[in-house]
Every structure is written in structure tokens, then in C-alpha cells.
């Protein structure tokens, strides 16, 4: 474990904990963004430049704004004086089981057993070509999903307008 990794990992975990435990929703969102940035740092550490910067572009640049807008447009940001989470046990159990499932899946998959990627550095070109050939179906499914989400948003907005008339 190198020093940069320790710093980035500590930052990521710390900000993730803060994102769960802070009282003010906007503070939570901001900590979550820090977590995203930390993840991007981890990708960069693994020499996955493209994924790392895409993570920043998409999560820090766009998803965070989405979260923040959602918070501001849906409810007041004033912290309320209510007791902390009812019982943390269910949450903890869910988290542990989710983690175990994922860890087992990763351990069982051949990814861990394989030695370092034989291809060396993956260029953006190969990434793009793979996306357009081998993985074109998942890509299209994702595109469809996003389009459907967008249509849904448009329809909700339109209904709103009719109602106000």
C-alpha cells in the first residue's frame, strides 16, 4: 500500500461515511462528490486514465449537479430536529450482505486470478471499438434506458403544465 493510495482511500472512505452521517443534506451531497472524486483518483492510480476522467466528468460534473438540484427542488435544506436513523441495524445488515455478495462474486470471477492485463495500456481507440462492436448491445440498452428516462421526465413536466392551466 503506497502513500498516495492510503491518502486517496482514506479520503474516499471518510467522505463516504460523512455522506451518510452528516445532518445537512447538501453537506451529504458535497461529501458524496468527494467520494466520487476519490474513486476517480483510485482509477487514475490503476492507470485507467480514461475511466478516471470520465468518472470526474460524469459524476463530479453532472451527477452531483443532478443530486444537488434534486435536493433543492424537492425539499427544504434546513436540517430537521428529528432523532437519527431509527435503528441502524437493518441498514448495517443490508450493507454487510451486499458487500459480501459483491466480494464473493469478485473472488469467484476469473478477474482476480488472471495476472496483470496482457494488453498493457488500453487506448481510447480500442475502448471505443470494443464498445461499438462487442458491447454494442449493452450500450444500446443503456441508451434506450436513458432515453426512456428522459421521455418520462418530459411527460411529467408536460402534465404539470396542463394541470396548471
Amino acid at each position: 500500500m503506497t502513500l498516495p493510495f492510503a491518502i486517496i482511500a482514506g479520503l474516499t472512505v471518510g467522505s463516504a461515511i460523512a455522506a451518510m452521517s452528516l445532518r445537512n443534506l447538501v453537506h451529504c451531497a458535497l461529501s458524496l462528490v468527494l467520494t466520487f472524486a476519490g474513486l476517480a483518483g483510485l482509477y487514475l492510480q490503476l492507470n485507467a486514465e480514461f475511466v478516471g476522467f470520465t468518472q470526474i466528468l460524469v459524476y463530479v460534473g453532472a451527477v452531483s449537479i443532478l443530486i444537488v438540484f434534486a435536493i433543492l427542488l424537492t425539499r427544504s435544506t434546513e436540517p430537521k430536529d428529528e432523532p437519527a436513523t431509527v435503528t441502524p441495524w437493518i441498514g448495517i445488515a443490508v450493507a454487510i450482505s451486499a458487500f459480501l455478495t459483491m466480494a464473493l462474486a469478485v473472488l469467484a470471477s476469473p478477474v482476480g486470478k488472471r495476472a496483470a492485463s496482457p494488453m498493457g495500456e488500453v487506448s481510447v481507440k480500442t475502448l471505443g471499438q470494443k464498445l461499438m462492436t462487442d458491447y454494442v448491445l449493452p450500450l444500446e440498452v443503456m441508451a434506450l434506458l436513458l432515453t426512456a428516462a428522459m421521455l418520462g421526465a418530459v411527460i411529467i413536466a408536460m402534465k404539470d403544465k396542463e394541470g396548471s392551466r
Partner: protein, 409 residues
């Protein structure tokens, strides 16, 4: 002669090597890399803020002249009559903002309020790390992801704007932040799409490679800048428009419209924090201009490949093009009024976005026809394919801009 100029061209690099040579031989490797990084960063941190300082004065003088005024021409050397045509103004402004009281609203979220200007300035400075300022003068050459790095880092400024606006607990700040974010998100799409044409043609995300790809020569003297292709010409202007919106420049300065919401998201900032916002805004503009130069204007390449022009150091060309673009933005600021929010959004989604998409298609066509059609036929064809939609889209748009309905007037 040419050799001397070549030496001048490499001067910054040579200087750095010279300074690195001064390190004792037994220096540990990490220290060497730290010193190297510092030596690379220092000129950037010196040149561009200085340029910002000069731009503030030149902008005010230029705007003054445009408005039949003289502009600042008083501040010179203190205690003397030497006035330096007012170019001491930025020093006075800097001192003023340094010694001004830093007022933080009592209701403000102190931590976020404090972090926002820093979180804005750092990404803006980071964007400079991938710009090639001259021949073999790029601080951080990312052969795989240069352009992506620029946009990724640039996109994270939106969050800083939100932090500033939200933490101030001020309606104007929040409104300004909302406007700024809506505007930045909308204009980022045309910005990226218009740069994508260049990536498509050159097949690389590396900014140095993009500059190199423009070094080919037409007719023996004209450089192969992307500006000289139909898609590049249109793409450059689309890029400039979107860049102006990203940098909150007139006519897209709604986020800080003084006449409507005081100063937008930095209403509640004073003293040096305000200066940091100001600095970050201008540095962002310069970085955008630098990217535009790199993508479309041949980076540090001279316009004509003939002797006296090629002697001028490459970084001089870069800085010269940058200054020209800054002057253009000042000129635009002196000319155009501010858009309304609905016009702003309509312009982004109904004009810029279709145009950039069409431009992408045209660029692809340009690339595919490169062997089957000669240049004199390919150029007008592609240009017509862009000019017609421009005319059609613009016509529908103009009708919108001229018609005004004041419902409550």
C-alpha cells in the same frame, strides 16, 4: 539567424533544464520531480494571472473607448506624476482587495462558503496543465486523454459555483448559482460536441497531437489549421459561443447580471475571496480560448509557413492568438446586450445543439470524401451543408428575438 530564433523558441525549456542542472547530484528522485513540477507550474502561475491583471485594465480602457470615454488612465507610480497610462490600476486593485475586510454573512455556511472560491480556482488552474503553450511546452502530456482531462476538470467548476451560491444564504446568490449551473450544463454540450469534430478528424484526444495534425501545409504556405475547413470554421464559432457562455461572458452573463441579481453567486463575497472568483473567471476564459486555439487555430503554429513568421517563437504565437481572442471577447462585451434566460436556453438547445450535430455529420463527410472528391469541390459542398441549416435555423430564431410580448407592461 534561424538558429538563434530556434534557441529563443526553446528558451523556457532550456531555462528549466539549466535550473534543474543546478540541483546537486545526490538529490533524491522524488525531490527532483517536485522541483521539476514547481519549475513547470511557476511560469503558468506567473504568466496567466499577470495576463488577467493586464486584461482587467485593457478591458476597462477598451470598453471606455467603445463608450466614448477614456477609461482608467490615472494610477501610475505612487508619489510621482508618472501615470503609465493607468496600467498601475491592477496593482492598486489587488492591494485594495487584499486589505479589504472579509465579510462572511452570519447565516452563511462558513465551511462551504470558505471552500467555494478554492474549489473554483483549483480546477480552473488544473485545466492549464494539458494546454500545449509552445513547441514541446506542455506541462502534462496525456496522450490518451488530454482533451477529456480538460473537460472533466472544467466541469467540476459547476459544483463550486453551487457551493458559493448555496452557502451564502442569499436569494440572489442562489438564483445566480442556479442560473450559472443551468447555463453551464446546457452550453457544455455544444462545447464538447463542437470540439468532438476535431477529435473525429484527428483520431486522438491528445492536444499536442491535435496541434501537430494541423502543421500540414496547403499550397506551400498556408497551414492546415482546422479553421480553414468548413466544419472547423463553423465549429470554431460554435465553440467560441459556447465558451463565452461557459465563462459567463457577455452576452451570456446572466449568472452575474448586475442589474438583476447584484453579482450572482458571489454576491456575498468580499475582499480577497471576491478577487479569487474574479481571477478564476478570467483564467477560465483564457483556458477556454487556449483550448479553442489548440483545437482550431493551430495552437502554437504560425499562420503561414514562410520564413520570418516561423522564426517567431512558438509560445509567442500562442500568447498572441490568446490576446487576439481576449480582445475579441472585450469587443463583444462592449457591443452586445445581455440575453434573457429563455432566449439563452432556446439558443443553446434550438440553435447551438442542432448546429453542432450537423457539424459532426459534415465533419464525418469531409473525412469520408477526402479521397473521392478534390478540395475545391469538397469545400463548397460541406460549407453549403452547414450554411443552409444555419440560415434556416437562424431565420426561425430571429423571428423569436425580434418579437416581444410584455404581458404585464
Amino acid at each position: 539567424m534561424a538558429e538563434l530564433f530556434a534557441k529563443l523558441d526553446a528558451l523556457p525549456v532550456t531555462l528549466k533544464h539549466l535550473l534543474m542542472g543546478l540541483l546537486p547530484g545526490a538529490t533524491p528522485e522524488w525531490l527532483v520531480s517536485v522541483v521539476s513540477a514547481v519549475l513547470t507550474i511557476t511560469p503558468i502561475l506567473a504568466v496567466f494571472p499577470l495576463m488577467f491583471a493586464l486584461t482587467t485594465v485593457i478591458e476597462r480602457k477598451g470598453l471606455g473607448r467603445i463608450q466614448n470615454r477614456i477609461g482608467p488612465n490615472r494610477v501610475g507610480i505612487p508619489l510621482t506624476d508618472i501615470r503609465l497610462y493607468g496600467f498601475g490600476q491592477f496593482i492598486a486593485d489587488g492591494i485594495k482587495s487584499l486589505i479589504k475586510e472579509d465579510v462572511v454573512p452570519r447565516a452563511a455556511d462558513k465551511v462551504v462558503h470558505f471552500l467555494a472560491p478554492i474549489a473554483l480556482l483549483i480546477p480552473v488552474l488544473l485545466t492549464y496543465s494539458v494546454l500545449p503553450f509552445g513547441k514541446s511546452m506542455v506541462p502534462l502530456d496525456l496522450p490518451q486523454t488530454g482533451l477529456l482531462f480538460f473537460f472533466a476538470v472544467g466541469a467540476s467548476t459547476e459544483l463550486s459555483v453551487f457551493m458559493a451560491g448555496w452557502s451564502s444564504r442569499n436569494k440572489y446568490s442562489l438564483l445566480g448559482a442556479m442560473r450559472a449551473i443551468a447555463q453551464m450544463v446546457s452550453y457544455e454540450i455544444p462545447l464538447i460536441l463542437s470540439s468532438l469534430t476535431v477529435v473525429m478528424i484527428t483520431g486522438t484526444l491528445s492536444l499536442t497531437a491535435i496541434v501537430q495534425s494541423q502543421s500540414g501545409v496547403h499550397f506551400g504556405f498556408l497551414h492546415n489549421w482546422h479553421l480553414f475547413t468548413p466544419w472547423g470554421l463553423v465549429g470554431f464559432f460554435l465553440f467560441l459561443t459556447a465558451a463565452a457562455a461557459e465563462a459567463n461572458r457577455t452576452p451570456f452573463d446572466l449568472p452575474e447580471a448586475e442589474s438583476e441579481i447584484i453579482a450572482g453567486y458571489f454576491t456575498e463575497y468580499s475582499g480577497f475571496k471576491f478577487a479569487i472568483f474574479f481571477l478564476a473567471e478570467y483564467l477560465g476564459l483564457f483556458a477556454m480560448c487556449g483550448l479553442g486555439i489548440t483545437l482550431f487555430l493551430g495552437g502554437w503554429l504560425p499562420p503561414l509557413n514562410i520564413a520570418p513568421l516561423t522564426w517567431i517563437p512558438s509560445w509567442c504565437w500562442f500568447l498572441g492568438k490568446l490576446s487576439a481572442l481576449i480582445v475579441l471577447f472585450i469587443w463583444l462585451r462592449g457591443t452586445l446586450p445581455r440575453l434573457r434566460t429563455d432566449q439563452l436556453m432556446a439558443f443553446a438547445w434550438k440553435f447551438l445543439l442542432p448546429m453542432t450535430l450537423i457539424n459532426l455529420v459534415v465533419a464525418a463527410l469531409w473525412y469520408l470524401l477526402r479521397d473521392s472528391l478534390p478540395l475545391y469541390a469538397r469545400w463548397p459542398l460541406c460549407f453549403a451543408m452547414l450554411a443552409v441549416p444555419y440560415w434556416l435555423l437562424g431565420r426561425g430564431f430571429e423571428a423569436k428575438f425580434t418579437k416581444r410580448e410584455y404581458r404585464y407592461a
